[in-house]
Amino acid sequence: MGKIPEKLKPIEHVITQERLIKYAEASGDYNPLHLDEEFARNTPYGKTIAHGMLILAFISALMTSAFGNTWLRTGKLKARFRAPVFPGDVVKVNAQLKSSNDEEVVYQVIVINQNESQVITGDAKLKLDSQGLEDYV
């Protein structure tokens, strides 16, 4: 079994309005809060915001890149959306080992924006089975 890393290599994503349109097409979520600038101007946010599930997908992608199938087969994600993400923001996904035992590994995951404000916090848990963390790359 590979050594469990204390910290996963962070990933960054630039959020653009084009990306929100692309995500809407891929997910079927056409909420105008994400797509319609005129509609969004009249909301408390004042402008469009990213789909929460888009930002959450960045966490899953980080875990997949680190643990491959083990994450996909056994992953548990518990996340809280702390602040909106706007087009133009750059978000960074961090994962720090929180606990581990013979059966499971838990990472604290935090997504921050370019101002270092937390936009998502949560835990990502995966089980260790007979394959251990062989998928760790």
Binding site: Y23, N31, L33, A57, S60, T64, N69, L72, R73, F81
Partner: protein, 129 residues
């Protein structure tokens, strides 16, 4: 739909979802996931299914456009194969109103044709009334 009428355990929708290779490629591109695992092994990202199921739920209960997603839990047990139909059910877990703000918790269950549980998920939404 009058959201105040939604009751705990009420089924919002039950539907088969099947994602093609093209749809998965489109999803991976949108979320910037560079992993080749999904297309190489013909498996569907669980979050791609959940995203589709959430869009179905939003449409089924006609959530107002300003609805905001505040928390998300997801527990995966099995993987779905590309093109395979999976059965998704969405039910109301709780529906509460506090100071003109409605908190809706939706519970998603997704199973394979052989009844294996693919995932369960819980979504908290905030709707300003």
């Amino acid at each position: 739909m009058n959201l105040s009428l939604l009751e705990k355990d009420q089924i919002i929708f039950k539907k088969s979802i099947a994602l093609s290779q093209d749809q998965i490629a489109c999803y991976l591109d949108a979320v910037g996931d560079k992993s080749t695992l999904f297309l190489d092994e013909a498996i569907v990202p669980p979050m791609a299914i959940l995203a589709q199921a959430m869009a179905e739920a939003m449409a089924a209960i006609k959530l107002p456009p300003g609805t905001v997603h505040t928390s998300q839990d997801l527990e995966v047990d099995h993987l779905a194969s590309v093109g395979a139909s999976v059965e998704c059910t969405c039910a109301i877990n709780s529906n509460t109103l506090r100071s003109d703000i409605r908190f809706l918790v939706l519970e998603f269950k997704c199973t394979s044709a052989s009844r294996d549980r693919i995932f369960v998920a819980r979504t908290t939404l905030v709707v300003t009334e």
